[in-house]
Symmetry: C2
Subunit: 452 residues, 2 copies
């Protein structure tokens, strides 16, 4: 992939019914090439092990494996970049008895969640607006595209992996013109390139993936936002923080961010099912100044803004039914996260990340993000040694007791694995997930003949 | 409200930023009039009880109340028309340890859920397509509006309450022209009126709310679908089954339905957070024949169709992260529902409904749905006696151990309450939710001076 600007015209010219491409099948132990054929190591092909058999084996191993890290049923530690391992109390909150979504006990819980999110995002500006809506991180893109931008608006999408392509596709779906600024795999667009792009056109928004889950590339949100405010002050700064909120420092007010969108199942430590956003007063004003109505109904802030304001004021309110159980789990996790200084939490993630990255380097392996300043603190994307593919090691790792993820970046999906280190696996001193995962990775590579 | 056709032009002429109207605040113990002022009974006004105090009292009562119907923490029985009371095992499934959304154990679970939904909707046609996506019932409207219809298409919306207004608003959001066929409150559009409307224009879809949660009005889906197929065979039949799937008979194939959309938290018996749809082969072909791309990204079947097909084929696949815990809970609930003949389940709901409705009549109270053929089997919307408002009885009912819902239909929200009778409260013989709820209602009315 070349560095530089690329208007995503291909989204317009593609027949709209070209369904998901093969590489959007996220692979773990199973990998297919772009024609959909299974990619196998030589060894596997020799023994004619079928994919189905391999998957069955994993299923059986996951049933058998006995890794007791809590009072949860025995299971391999889930060390992928989301969903992550969850705290026992968070999982217990998922079993909360049924409550009315408009009666006071639940309304109080929801209100406290929204207030807690202000602290997590480090915003004290009362004009900032948190949203918590049933969905996934992806829904956050729709909310940006359908509430902040209008058809015909221009968006500059900074590309550090798979998720920028998807965000651009989402924007184009809503009639927004998305121009991607791309960097080579493992790198990120540089500030001078962003400045040049911003000088060429009036962009309504610039979007950046704080950590791209497909590559483990970290963007420098603070410096980027400063630049945008300086050279294109009207442009809103939109951060996809799906793989960063809760493990990377984010100072919403201080850095002048306009939207940070995320999901529940990564460093926030709650099962998947919630789309979570913090939106600046400036972004809300931009929304209110729209000339056209929002282009989504379920994601419309016209529908949700009064509901979120009412919940935070602890007044019952209804647009669409929220998930009380997920909101309770978020309440529990936020209470845990906010019980100690956020700076300590971020330092813990940095330390765990350094431990993983040093172990990877000691093993003679390279990361997709080669420059230290580009490396995420909540995950590591690791190139496998030549001749070793994810299916050679992932099933064995499950057997030992750890689940890693395969590659996701279409051009190199068969060449790397992803190791997530977020949440309780990092912050809970009783867990040994990180050390064990590193050890198992070493063993597995040795077992397939790799010598560091 | 007058019977007859009404193109929802008001959605066009409204300033788009008119936020949610006061009555879209779903009320339970608290009620406000259309100016937002609290509606109180004379008694309450006399004692100057503030709303905040009343809500606090409910919160405290809900903490104290000791109604043990299972091994869940003590809590008042939630007898609103969704969310409903949940089975212990379903709630335990919500606490399932974390799994990768693309590893085989979870993929198998998801695949079984999709197959199970075919049985629940009574479809054996392989062209039918189930969808399970993080969201709420509302998201199902967006999926219809953005995948089946295209901007400029005509939709006939049959109105039996609040949710038709909202579905029409959703359709208009996506540029679809929604014409509502309205009936007086408590009634439903008659077949001859529908036939007349269909003869006047070429409608791409007709939408019907199987049970409108705001009124408890049941529509006759079978007869309606037969009529549509006869007089306007190209028109697709879209059923909002949020308050019907799992408690009202639905024969997807036999009745020639094109979409039935629902949510998890009602008669399916799973905490809120899932949008669930069954879509006919004809509807999928209509989607594939679109001239324009889908107008939603998160709700796009272009993105989801291959994912759902892969999950059902037990192949890992990724577009947006599903919620493994909610899918596990759905798996558990579907297993329970499908462990006995569906006909028995529907008969149980009919019997419980008859018991409630007979008790209501014996109390001298009227239902919004006055004609027996219009009455839902999973809920009852009950007019309170003259001079008694929901805040007069709902807090006392909570204290006794049952939560009912206030009114939701804007024109009469302060005059009625809603009693939900779905799921385990009906089918679990060990529970006494229905009998106790009827008894408490009687007592509460007597306590505020009502004599049957």
């Amino acid at each position: 992939m070349e560095r530089g600007l690329a208007r995503e015209r291909d989204f317009d010219s593609k027949p709209f019914l070209e369904l998901n491409t093969p590489f959007s099948t996220e692979r773990s132990a199973t990998l297919e090439d772009e024609e959909g054929k299974l990619i196998r190591s030589q060894k596997e092909v020799q023994v004619e092990d079928t994919d189905d058999q391999a998957q069955e084996a994993i299923a059986k191993e996951e049933d058998k494996v006995d890794v007791k890290m809590s009072n949860q049923a025995p299971h391999p530690a889930l060390m992928i970049p989301g969903p992550i391992e969850f705290d026992d109390q968070v999982l217990q909150s998922m079993s909360h008895y049924s409550e009315s979504h408009v009666n006071q006990p639940f309304v109080n819980t929801f209100g406290e969640v929204l207030s807690g999110l202000r602290r997590l995002f480090q915003t004290t500006n009362p004009a900032s607006q948190p949203f918590v809506i049933s969905g996934s991180g992806t829904l956050g893109w729709d909310m940006v595209a359908s509430n902040i931008t209008e058809p015909g608006d221009e968006a500059l999408v900074l590309h550090t992996g798979y998720f920028a392509d998807s965000f651009a596709d989402c924007l184009e779906t809503y009639g927004v013109k998305a121009t991607q600024l791309k960097a080579p795999i493992g790198d990120r667009p540089q500030l001078d390139e962003v400045e040049k792009a911003l000088s060429e056109k009036e962009y309504k928004i610039v979007t950046v993936t704080h950590v791209d889950t497909s590559t483990g590339v970290l963007s420098d949100i603070k410096a980027l936002s400063e630049l945008v405010h300086k050279v294109s002050p009207k442009t809103l700064v939109i951060v996809d923080g799906v793989c960063s909120v809760g493990c990377e420092e984010i100072r919403f007010d201080d850095w002048g961010l306009d939207v940070v969108l995320t999901a529940s199942q990564k460093a926030i430590g709650v099962p998947a099912g919630l789309s979570i956003l913090m939106v600046s007063g400036r972004a809300i004003e931009t929304f209110k100044a729209r000339k056209t109505r929002p282009t989504s109904y379920f994601g419309s802030w016209k529908n949700w803004l009064p509901i979120m304001q009412n919940y935070e004021a602890k007044k019952p309110s209804y647009f669409a039914t929220p998930s009380p159980q997920l909101v309770h789990a978020l309440h529990t996790s936020l209470s845990q996260i906010l019980s100690r200084p956020l700076a300590e939490r971020f330092a813990d993630h940095k330390a765990a990340s350094q431990k993983v990255k040093q172990a990877v380097t000691a093993l003679g392996l390279k990361q997709l993000a080669s420059k230290p300043e580009n490396q995420a603190n909540g995950m590591t994307a690791i190139y496998l040694p030549d001749g070793i593919a994810p299916p050679d090691v992932l099933p064995g790792l499950v057997k030992k007791g750890v689940v890693f993820a395969g590659g996701l970046h279409k051009e190199i999906a068969t060449k790397y694995i992803r190791f997530g280190h977020m949440g309780v696996s990092v912050t809970d001193g009783k867990r040994e997930d990180i050390d064990k995962s590193i050890g198992y990775l070493k063993e597995s590579l040795a077992e397939v003949g790799y010598k560091a």
